[in-house]
Symmetry: C2
Subunit: 549 residues, 2 copies
């Protein structure tokens, strides 16, 4: 016999078929719609002739213009101990050469460059003086062949939504933007194979394939700005990983331009191809350091006929874990996401973004998504799961949504945490893979360790994949707080045999932590691969791999 | 209104819940149980001291002993134009050194070697005089360090079930068998992560994880003999690819010993890890030419609560395709296999293996498997699909199985085609990825082209993945038939932008066809990777990549 309160909740939670949204508070829907990230897509159209460059010294000076909002971000070279490598400095002659390759798309306007020199977290800043906007892989090849010959360093840039400083220059690297490489090349309406240029924005691709009965196999908070090429280059994980797996499995082919300008066309549309080494895999997750991805072929799964989202409150982390086990068993193949966030995260999205929680205050919240081919079957499975979760006290409150707008509003609570954090102050971000059963211990541990040094210590993430996003905020960047966090967080993670970067990559900010998750022999082989594919080291230097002794 | 015949069939096919097997013919169950392949697991325990080796010339002579059955297979070096590379020849001193590394596990008995020198298709044969059976990765490292120093060529061998001559020596390469590396290292009962040595037999791993509520993400006809290390080294596809995807997505980590004996430990158990380049991907599908896989970490999905298999007869290939579209829509996420075979395949398994068809004779047969978490939901979906397929005339006859024994019997009709073919004569095997809508055209085309030159031309395969197994048989190996097939089949495939090896790899027999599916720049990079990882070329020489000019 269920206690009376639980029974009352079940009435609210477990509707008759078809599922309807219960206990929905109007205020939530008002504030929670998913917004496009706009801070990274502000680059205006090319502005014509460039200003004076080329004769100035390679070490940058503070720019007088600042990015769109907030105080000026410290230059990376001033905040971090990093030395410029002996690349050439772009000269007037170089700019003229680029102008011949991509007429009218060589950008030197300082306002435009300001936005492309700083990451969206506003934690690192380069001082590049030129941004190139090619439209085709041939143009990319031509540019790289030129840069290779001239020993010019290049920073490939997609939507500039990365979390680890991988997408902006460290010094004056030439920014090679994929923004104009935004064409769908082909889509096969039976198999769901999409082939497109690297600069297509993920959300636009999603809309494109959804109109044709498919979905993209990945989804992430930055979808409104991030480019598919950047997603692949960073092996983005995101919200659908639990269901559709890694890009190493869903990407069918890539076109990549190598450091010397060679075009490597492995843009296969075949699901299976065992002819020789699977070269495309090398570039998935290599963060633009081995080649520039110019086109992607990706397998899109059929669009589910029914999607449900349940947003639940849990009394403790043990219950979050047990709810996961229960729902894996009862939802089986229709489970498509299992996300969690702690009470601090809820505070952040309520306070900074004015979203409203649709459930009672709880120590933890869980977002469960199901995607299936038959609404009534899915509803029955979900109802059975919710009934059991409530009956056993794993869940204390909850709400379920099926219609598109309310689904999005529930998702926004989880997806916009990162945005809320960035409004809380300077953010120290850690993206860790850990054994699920001890996944939250580090958050508790750090809160005790840091005390009032930190403004906030929060934990959320893709629990279904063992992926914790640990975030610490302070009013401003603080070296002493950073020292309290690192290498402590990395050592803690290594002690659990976890990964110091589950899905964000290493970029500039995490590259020196690589050895916490990989042995020396692996590191050596990575350096050898880099030397083989980019002997002059011009592609995204200072990123991914630690500087060689 | 359905025609009367279709209505009668529906009564047979679409049972009330729970599903039962209809129209099952007792004779089928009798002959069709899945048998372990035994021809590749005949190697007896080590036999002690070796015979005379080392002073004989490197080019082999015909062996007086023959493998287990059938006439002696021609030596590869006699049948194909291939030249031995200048590796050292194993000497008495080398054997003594190996004996110190793995005492009692250095095999030189000619009977044992005969079985390991020939592939199971009995199409290629090497003349190695020594087989090593290490138990640990340290022993493999020690062996490879020694071979690297001594310039001795090594042929890594798993279950020796490959289709392209990749698993046996071409000349006198030392056979490095993973047969004794057959221990499960760990299994996580919540996440389903299995870590095991490379020599574990796939079927035994399946039983191991199934007893714990999970399944292996791959399954194939050779499961009774093939090793998981060989599966990963060849990027095996198989029968569950449609549902669980490629090993590039499901393999979480690998331990690999490099050519010089370096142990590369990337044996992560994490679902997500973006720290540096994903090195393990290099070795998946590289057929032992870049390193020897010694242990595998793999993500096992939960065991489905309900499995159904439908075996259907289709009047034409157009109906096979349309049945696939229909079942993708109606079965959605529970569809776990969509296989097809033509009438010639059915003749082969009936004639050579004495299996009985459970349905009326048809030009084509389709095997559909569903795997789901709730029997009654799955049955309802399957019934709706079958009703629609019959009503629209896509399917003319069919049977459905739910219990384990009968499921296996239906699967055997499809899984044992390869075995039946090998009893039909010499088999020319092609494993192609092609656009599904024109996938069978090549079979029809070849039948007309070859006429009486061929004994049989058959087509079957993983239609859901666009993967055709095209097989041609003749009484004995015939050079003129081979010339009629190649490069014709490859050119036809390249014309469709297909792959000349979907899942079998290139091994020895297909390596020169690589350029039909990959451009010169890709080939060049593969050669560079080989040179980087195995500068002396001692690992599985003469395989995967064409000989360099």
């Amino acid at each position: 016999m269920l206690p009376q309160r639980a029974r009352a909740m079940l009435r609210r939670l477990v509707p008759r078929q078809p599922l309807r949204l219960f206990q929905w508070q109007a205020a939530c829907a008002r504030g929670a719609s998913v917004q496009r990230r706009t801070w990274a897509s502000m680059i205006p159209r090319p502005l014509g002739p460039w200003g004076a460059v080329g004769n100035s010294p390679p070490v940058c000076r503070r720019s007088s213009s600042t990015p769109a909002s907030g105080p000026e971000v410290a230059l990376t070279q001033e905040r971090y101990p990093v030395k410029r490598l002996p690349f050439s400095t772009p000269s007037e002659a170089d700019l003229a050469a680029f102008e011949r390759i991509i007429p009218g798309r060589v950008v030197t306007d300082t306002e435009v460059l300001a936005a492309s020199n700083v990451d969206w977290l506003r934690t690192v800043r380069g001082c590049s003086r030129v941004l190139l906007r090619p439209r085709t892989s041939e143009e990319v090849a031509h540019i790289l062949r030129y840069c290779h010959e001239r020993n010019l360093a290049v920073n490939p840039q997609g939507g500039n939504t990365g979390m680890v400083g991988g997408s902006v220059p460290v010094f004056d690297e030439i920014i090679l933007s994929t923004a104009l490489m935004n064409q769908v090349i082909s889509f096969h309406s039976v198999s769901g194979t999409l082939v497109c240029q690297a600069g297509c924005i993920l959300e636009e691709l999603s809309q494109y394939v959804e109109a044709r009965g498919f979905v993209m196999p990945l989804d992430l908070g930055a979808k409104g700005s991030c480019h598919i090429g950047g997603n692949v280059a960073t092996n983005a994980g995101g919200l659908r990983f639990l269901r559709y797996g890694s890009l190493h499995g869903t990407v069918l082919g890539l076109e990549v331009v190598l450091a010397d300008g060679t075009v490597l066309n492995c843009l296969s549309t075949l699901r299976k191809d065992n002819t020789g080494y699977d070269l495309k895999q090398l570039f998935i997750g290599s963060e633009g350091t081995l080649g520039v991805i110019t086109a992607v072929s990706i397998q899109c799964p059929p669009k589910p006929q029914a999607v449900n989202v349940a947003f639940l409150g849990c009394p403790g982390f043990a219950e979050v874990l047990q709810t996961f086990s229960t729902c894996k068993g009862l939802l089986g193949e229709i489970l498509s996401a299992y996300e969690f966030m702690d009470a601090e995260c809820m505070w952040l999205v309520r306070h900074h973004l004015h979203l409203t929680s649709p459930v009672q205050e709880s120590p933890f919240y869980v977002l469960i998504e199901t995607s299936g081919s038959r609404a009534e079957h899915d509803a029955e499975k979900l109802n059975d799961f919710l009934e059991q979760a409530l009956r056993s006290g794993l869940v204390t409150d909850g709400t379920v949504a099926t219609d598109q707008m309310k689904l999005k509003a529930l998702w926004a609570l989880r997806e916009r945490i990162s945005e809320a954090l960035s409004r809380d102050g300077y953010v120290y971000k850690y993206d860790l893979s850990l054994p699920t059963d001890t996944l939250y211990d580090l958050v508790t541990d750090l809160r005790a360790r840091l005390g009032s040094q930190a403004k906030r210590v929060v934990g959320y993430g893709h629990l279904g994949d063992g992926n914790l996003h640990l975030n610490v905020t302070s009013e401003d960047f603080s070296r002493s707080l950073l020292d309290a966090l690192e290498p402590y967080v990395y050592e803690w993670t290594a002690g659990q045999r976890g990964s110091v970067s589950a899905e964000h990559g290493l970029g500039f900010k995490k590259k020196d932590a690589l050895h916490y998750s990989k042995p020396p022999a692996a590191l050596r082989l990575m350096q050898q691969l880099k030397a083989l594919l980019d002997p002059k080291g011009i592609l995204n230097p200072y990123k991914t791999l630690p500087a060689q002794a």
